[in-house]
């Protein structure tokens, strides 16, 4: 519950930064996705249920700053958070490549769902342009940023939720 409550101001701030600041940091037309990074980072450090909640909250904030139908990004991020929660408890969870693999899947699914939504509402989308100018560059930047994001998420969870020790 505490993690979800903390998520509200954090995700609101990230959505604002996504619109006002990160939209200028571009590789072709791709940008780092701050809210997606936060959701995936929170899930990878083990707060999977909260991460799903973060997906809903963060997606709703993003929808406020976008022309896409309200709720569509929230659905996409909930699905992404649900998907990336599956490695929890698996033996390869601690492997360094795992977060990169998770981010690769998460970023691809997130953008594919975004493209799908716009196609559904009739916005013209050139799939080749979307893939080469948006999806791939965004995914690349998300991959670069996921490891530091996990470090931050780890440090936050250890401060907020220190592991219980039996004496």
């Amino acid at each position: 519950m505490l993690g979800t409550l903390i998520g509200i101001p954090v995700l609101a701030l990230l959505a604002v930064l996504q619109s006002s600041l990160l939209s200028h940091i571009r590789l072709l037309d791709g940008r780092p996705d701050a809210v997606l990074l936060a959701v995936v980072g929170w899930s990878v450090v083990g707060r999977t249920n909260e991460a799903i909640g973060w997906g809903f909250i963060g997606g709703s904030f993003l929808d406020l700053f976008s022309g896409v139908p309200f709720g569509s990004t929230a659905i996409a991020l909930v699905l992404v958070a649900y998907l990336v929660s599956f490695p929890e408890g698996r033996f390869w969870e601690s492997h360094v490549v795992m977060p990169l693999g998770v981010m690769l899947v998460a970023s691809t699914v997130f953008h594919v769902l975004g493209i799908g939504t716009l196609v559904l509402v009739g916005h013209p989308i050139d799939l080749e342009v979307a893939l080469t100018r948006v999806l791939l560059p965004s995914t690349f930047m998300n991959l670069v940023l996921i490891l530091p994001t996990i470090q931050v998420a780890n440090s936050v969870t250890q401060r907020l939720f220190p592991p219980e020790v039996k004496i």
Binding site: A12, S19, S23, R31, T48, N49, A74, P124
Partner: protein, 277 residues
């Protein structure tokens, strides 16, 4: 209950909630709530955008000096050329003054009124080319109002909230602008490409379009006021077997560096009622 089924339950519940919000938003019931949430966030957005612009200007200022010197040399050459034109134009001015007085009787052109507004953000979806400005219905902004800068047309307001509005840029593939070439007087329609290029389509095959020619809004269709600059012709594609020719244009506005825009508040496009959301 296992952790996996608990997660599935949470995810399903939240997706159903999001779908409900989507339906409510589509029906327009969420507008007041959205405005309520956006108001404090837009203040934060505006603060961030201002700080970002200050830092960007500080970082890019040394390279701007070189650009400005180069630009100055270009403008000096332009001044020399224009001085020659001025002599010819002074002769024509005498005639034009008389014609203008006559025309004034026939057609009174109202002064445009503007609302200056800061650009506070961009659409978070990389697939939509729109910006958020820090003025909304509280400042008299209405859906459909054209947006420009001193350099040319930026776009049109397509979503209005109490304190912010969303402006669809003319570079968005969904934006359609009727335009006219300044010298050849040929009409066309702006067709923004998904890769960011600006094309002009539906140009008469017989029109002689020159490279560098200025492209202005035509005012046809009532979507935008006439004579707002849009761009200059970069290249023309003319094929005998096609019904129309096309041109690629370079926009006069630098869409990546928009800080302040002007909303033309006394113009509402045909088909949009005053105050419509």
């Amino acid at each position: 209950m296992s952790r996996t089924s608990s997660r599935t339950l949470i995810a399903s519940a939240l997706i159903i909630l999001a779908l409900s919000l989507l339906a409510l938003s589509a029906a327009g019931y969420l507008q007041p709530a959205e405005s309520l949430v956006v108001r404090p966030l837009s203040a934060l957005q505006s603060w961030t955008a201002t700080r970002y612009a200050a830092i960007r200007d500080f970082i890019t200022s040394p390279s701007d000096v070189t650009t400005l010197r180069q630009r100055n040399a270009e403008l000096e050459a332009e001044v020399a050329r224009l001085q020659q034109q001025v002599i010819g134009l002074q002769e024509q001015q005498a005639e034009a003054t008389i014609l203008a007085v006559l025309l004034k009787y026939a057609r009174e052109q109202p002064e445009s009124s503007y609302q200056a507004s800061k650009v506070i953000g961009r659409d978070v979806s990389p697939f939509l080319r729109s910006i958020w400005i820090g003025s909304g219905s509280d400042q008299g902004i209405a859906r459909g109002m054209p947006v420009a800068t001193d350099r040319g047309l930026v776009g049109r307001v397509i979503e209005v909230r109490a304190s912010v509005s969303r402006v669809q840029l003319i570079t968005d593939p969904e934006a359609a602008v009727n335009l006219r070439f300044q010298q050849s007087r040929a009409d066309g329609v702006l067709a923004a490409q998904l890769n960011g290029e600006l094309w002009v389509d539906l140009i008469d095959q017989n029109a002689e379009i020159a490279q560098g020619e200025l492209v202005l809004t035509s005012g046809l269709g009532g979507g935008f006021p006439a004579d707002i600059p849009i761009g200059r012709v970069l290249s023309v594609r003319k094929r005998d077997y096609e019904l129309f020719q096309q041109a690629v244009i370079q926009p006069t506005v630098e869409f990546d560096n928009l800080d302040i825009v002007l909303v033309i508040t006394n113009f509402l496009p045909v088909g949009v009622s005053d105050g419509a959301q």
